[in-house]
Symmetry: C3
Subunit: 270 residues, 3 copies
């Protein structure tokens, strides 16, 4: 995909400030909100069963993350995704640790009928959600993203969602098309919430795009975030200062730097 087309989605988020409704986990709420503010979006963590349905039509997009799912949150998420579907608000699913834990796994499968626009996870999570047997031990992915590409395509065809498997190489597919991206830094795995916040970023980009552009918007969100991570790793070699630099880079990467840094891989040789 053309770098300029991808960067146009960055510009659109910055100028449009999409309102992203997040139902996410307790560990990453703060970091996710700061990532959304850094990219120019507007975070809204409305969590109560009493309010989520009222908020769905106001929001540009909804981001759902199962990281610290419990029964009350599951009820709120169900109401929120149903309201989003009814209102035509696109929503993104981050199936954290789906596979080894049965409660969230069953819940994630149930959610698929509410038609997520995008599903973003690591290799283990995407393999599990596609119906395969993965070997995760929670948020860590023990499977390489390459192995999950087939699963991602199966899942995309089954759900009609765009599926993104992120890792050293990131794959984005709608079941037919596949884009592979190779930016980023291992430091992105040393700060909690980078992956979770990436799902919220995808939601923001999709929320600022038309339906026909959701695939491109997802690729743009992941390219932009991993490029910011790669540049931040040049600024800071340790995780505390890397997290600060990552937010700074998300707020400041310009089109020329984006273009110069972007690495897309040829799928055939991936």
């Amino acid at each position: 995909m053309r770098s300029a087309d991808l960067f146009s989605h960055v510009t659109r988020v910055r100028s449009g400030a999409p309102l992203v409704h997040c139902l996410t986990n307790l560990v990453v709420t703060n970091f996710t909100a700061n990532v959304l503010l850094a990219i120019g979006a507007a975070p809204a963590m409305v969590v109560a069963r009493e309010e989520v349905a009222e908020f769905a039509p106001i929001a540009s997009a909804l981001s759902v993350n199962l990281g610290t799912l419990d029964e009350p949150q599951a009820r709120a998420i169900r109401l929120a995704v149903d309201a989003a579907r009814d209102a035509g608000t696109p929503w993104a699913l981050d199936p954290v640790a789906v596979g080894p834990l049965s409660f969230r796994t069953a819940f994630a499968f149930d959610l698929l009928d509410a038609k997520p626009a995008v599903i973003r996870g690591n290799a283990s999570e995407i393999i599990s959600l596609s119906g395969g047997a993965a070997s995760g031990r929670g948020v860590d992915s023990t499977a390489a993203t390459d192995a999950a590409l087939d699963a991602a395509q199966v899942l995309a065809l089954k759900t009609q969602a765009i599926v993104a498997v992120t890792g050293a190489t990131d794959y984005i597919t709608d079941g037919k098309r596949v884009v592979a991206l190779a930016n980023g830094s291992p430091l992105m795995t040393r700060v909690t919430g980078v992956g979770c916040a990436l799902s919220a970023t995808v939601a923001a980009f999709v929320g600022a795009a038309s339906r026909a552009e959701w695939f491109d918007a997802t690729v743009a969100a992941i390219a932009y975030s991993t490029i910011a991570g790669e540049l931040a790793a040049r600024d800071a070699a340790m995780p505390g200062s890397f997290a600060v630099a990552y937010l700074d880079r998300l707020a400041s990467v310009d089109e020329a730097t984006f273009d110069k840094t972007l690495v897309q891989r040829d799928i055939a040789s991936a």
Copy 2:
């Protein structure tokens, strides 16, 4: 107001380390605690229905924020504010996103009978809570603070609370007196929780003051925080490093710098 008088409240918080009981939202608990520690106060996030009433008489002040209100938290907040009122512990209300969301809006109106010492919000929130029709879309304020000054005075007279409307210009009023402050930086809106933590800071300042000084203490808290923000924006131009610099400045601004930076506006010409 005289700069030296305002700074005396800063000194009093630093030496007295008021214990601030916070019932706040999930997004900002960590940042709020770090802001309170930076200004020299002692944060205590005691949240359980079983404990809040027991803690109210121990605390110097209570800070209540409705950002991620749900039914269990509403019950805990009700118990906490009633215990605070009975114990004579002053409490501050931050009516996050009151207006567009009915559950929290009804709850915020109900809370007013427990006599908050201070109400701090953005323009949309204060207009809504005063009974007017605002046009918020959540935590963002779409109304300028100027437009909210009338509403703030109405709300202050109705509730006998000090009301602070914060934004590019900050107004603090008890219904009769009005102080306008014009410090700060747009970067304060690019870090989640700066406004929420400001409410906790107001609670800390009020908790370290006598009842007759609550108005001055509120002005001092807002002047101090916005000056720290303005100085931090000179240290750091991007949101990640700005958040770090803001905490550093909150912990270190001295009286001479405070005096040199403070901008009060004449209300007549505001």
Copy 3:
């Protein structure tokens, strides 16, 4: 204890990446996860009643913190510690603010029958949990650690846990042996969650050790963390930048620096 033996536990955490299941408070979840990632461990904040028991056998260790305990979390913690005990997964208890607040105090005493491997608290908390009368006002400790050493030994003998009282001087005891450490910085008390994350770090070190090494692993975890804090205070004098530097130092302290910085105190002269 020999510095090289202590540092071997640091190396073991870095290479083994123990999976630490955390049931902790709302204020410090993010910081705790980032501390665990910085030391090379893998955090997992699995919190739901439906999942905690399923996760206990997968985890290398469990870290329990009572900072924002409420009834639903109490039920989840009970299930988690019982499952950990049954699975032979060691668990650490951080009895935040036990003493002045009755709900959590009663709960903490109940938990002792599930045999924590380590209990880490400040002086007030350890005195309270040993059955004495402390004078805390919450998370602050108003008692010096010296005064808590007797209480720590009593508690260790009663529970067969390793007990660590942390403060300006840190004491670690199994009821018979006592090690005193004197590293650290007052800045560690100006950042929320440093103490809570220390308990999770102890859990990680214990989770990477054999049962016979739990005492040494606890000493190593506290020595390592306080040395990182002391070094971070040389990098940064204010709390915002100190927190960043602390994470960076946790990720990077090497054996030579550890050895040069470590201060153990002779107990007889303490």
